[in-house]
Symmetry: C2
Subunit: 466 residues, 2 copies
Amino acid sequence: MTGPTEPTVGTGPLIDAIRARLPELRLLTDPVDRESHRSDETAYLHTGLPAAVALPTTTAQVAELVRIAGGLRVPVVPRGAGSGLSGGSAGIEGGLTIAFTAMDRILEIDRENLVAVVQPGVINARLKAAVAEVGLFYPPDPASFEICTIGGNLGTNAGGLCCVKYGQTRDSVLSLEVVMADGTVIRTGGKNVKDVAGYSLTHLIVGSQGTLGLITEATVRLRPAPPPRSTMLVFFPTLESAGAAVAGIAAAGLSPVTLELMDRFTIGAVDDMHQLGLDRTAAAMLMLESDMPAGAAADELERAEVACRAAGATDVIRAANEQEADWLRQARRAAHYALERLGEVRMEDIGVPRARVPDMLRAIERIAAKHEVRIGTFGHAGDGNLHPDLVFDRGDPRAEAVTKLVQADLYRAALDLGGTVTGEHGIGVARREWLEIQRGPDAVRFMRAIKAALDPLGILNPGRVI
Amino acid sequence: MTGPTEPTVGTGPLIDAIRARLPELRLLTDPVDRESHRSDETAYLHTGLPAAVALPTTTAQVAELVRIAGGLRVPVVPRGAGSGLSGGSAGIEGGLTIAFTAMDRILEIDRENLVAVVQPGVINARLKAAVAEVGLFYPPDPASFEICTIGGNLGTNAGGLCCVKYGQTRDSVLSLEVVMADGTVIRTGGKNVKDVAGYSLTHLIVGSQGTLGLITEATVRLRPAPPPRSTMLVFFPTLESAGAAVAGIAAAGLSPVTLELMDRFTIGAVDDMHQLGLDRTAAAMLMLESDMPAGAAADELERAEVACRAAGATDVIRAANEQEADWLRQARRAAHYALERLGEVRMEDIGVPRARVPDMLRAIERIAAKHEVRIGTFGHAGDGNLHPDLVFDRGDPRAEAVTKLVQADLYRAALDLGGTVTGEHGIGVARREWLEIQRGPDAVRFMRAIKAALDPLGILNPGRVI
């Protein structure tokens, strides 16, 4: 894009300062370019147009950008692929968006210590592929792993399908390089698996969505690559029976690497899209996978099937080979996209203690009926994290207002069950008024104290999270 | 103890205020009682005599104690079993020690959600036993698990033998109830496995050794109980070969639940104590365990043995049954006590990236020779965390001075290898001057900002960690 830059009032000093102090930096000021950095993937969000979008290639540039923005009291928004679902990287009117897409190098894969050192713009799938080439495995796998960046994953403490076994992004991080609000660059750790020297800034900053510091490098844990997964789909006549199966699988001592759920509406949408011949009469489907060595995997799925049948499962499909497994797995990965074929989708991200999943599913049905809105629910049954997708006809004028009402009912229901308004997408800006309702004003007061201590000018992604 | 209270200048107002506002609280003011709360298990530490020791039974009492202490600017020291190895719970002269030993209830074991809710005074082993009765497993297992408390484990983010597979204490915590420095009681989460609402105060406060808040309750994760462990001891002619075996085990994709190392000096001490017939000519011994299902466990140890033999292992002993396994396991658990039979022991806690373990072991030998001190080293080879135990003759007048010198050389060597001065015991007071050397002044500046934000009067365990 090479359109003329827009001489908006108030943005001149920022752009002038950046050009003067970082002449070699790629800086987007064209309205079209800035417009393309306005939103993330969150539907019905009111976003701002950044004054400029910087694409730094070095940590020093990021530090200088933060110093310039601080001097001018301009808000700084960090951004990866823009695939977030909480508005955390959406533009702030007149702010400086720092897009980390040009800091996309895998700096090191250390096989002996089972770690990789990466820049924040590395795409999750690219890291997975690079470490797989040397027989290693980077577990975090948000459904968007083919497009999302590690930096975004760190910002939200992203989860995914296999975190029921391997934990969330935070659990795979050993150390960060971070540009703090005053431009200081710190390193929070090393390659040590165990290290209790001082407060864990690593654990604090992961999940803070760029409000406490900007991550410019991460040292992440790798594992030896497990065997290819064995995959199984199980269908249930009721939500209760699916919930009972999840409990039964845990009670049997099994730790499947994937334990995903889809409701009837989502099963139908996926089947329409992929023609898989799924049982569309089922109330729910579970997808289970094992990544244990061959014999143990067969045994794990066998025992899981026993637990599912005991809970009332009506139908079980096991992938006969890797190709079939891929095919079944795509069905789950495609859930969100399948629903998007039906209309405009707003995706939610509630979590409940895992035994309350059936209660939450019933609450979702009740809320959908009350507001006369289509909701397809899928998600990570094994860890209680569910994604109700609200599906509206495109251009439905009541969509935004209804979304607000449904969101409130969903969140209230999750909190009443001891749950959370966000399991893996983040508070961002989309759920900000709910943080205090969930955590209580006192806990949030201490979060604000931490924010004020680390970013006294409030320039790092203001208005997000807290 | 019912001796007379000591009317020390400056302690009167504290004791008077506590007695007036918390008449039902058990408060120790007798010099003998206070003296017994002066030290933890850290050798050669200069400690203070608390003005009083409170044994609260409720969170409300803890909050009131903190408010009283805050009003009088009296330092507050939280304490569990006093088994710490960094001086984190050692007394502060004239301070108020809050011993959590009377808050020792397991409040809930929630089998469906795989969590337990516990008070901080619960002994680790008691929690393990209670959940084992219902087929569950609480992984964190510091070597002191039979005497240490969950509260202490949370304070230091304690590790242990099985954290190579299951992570440290922080990885098993979902939520905390915390009394903050102003007496406010907050709850940091719930029973949700995934919950990204706001900053993770849980992760920040675990490992902060009572300097950011006092933990009065914890919701911890449980797992289905794994099968009984299969155990194997392997002997190596050189440190290099043992290190190569650790790397080979990881490269083979194995995840043993225990991967422990003992050096020749420690092997001898343990063998003297337990007459196990260990190979005392070996330079190092590894203890490996598998907790996979029977067939898979045999396979895991078989493959580990192959990796060990390839690295040059000379001798392999496999436990034939559970009783033999217990016996071998005690050998490792007894390492510290076996060394204590030989003299006064100062235990260190360095960590290095796991591939640098042989380098670190060589450095330890070099440092021992340089200072002419006996050092027995054992520890968690699988995660790079080693415990060099300095062994002095009892009453050796140079012990404290030499400890200081050896400590400095050990820490410098660990840091030169990209390591840490503490893997699981904590900075406490014993390693405080090393925090800035390891993390850098900038990172520590931000830790101090967090401390000041959450505890502006600096009454929570001052002089510890930062």
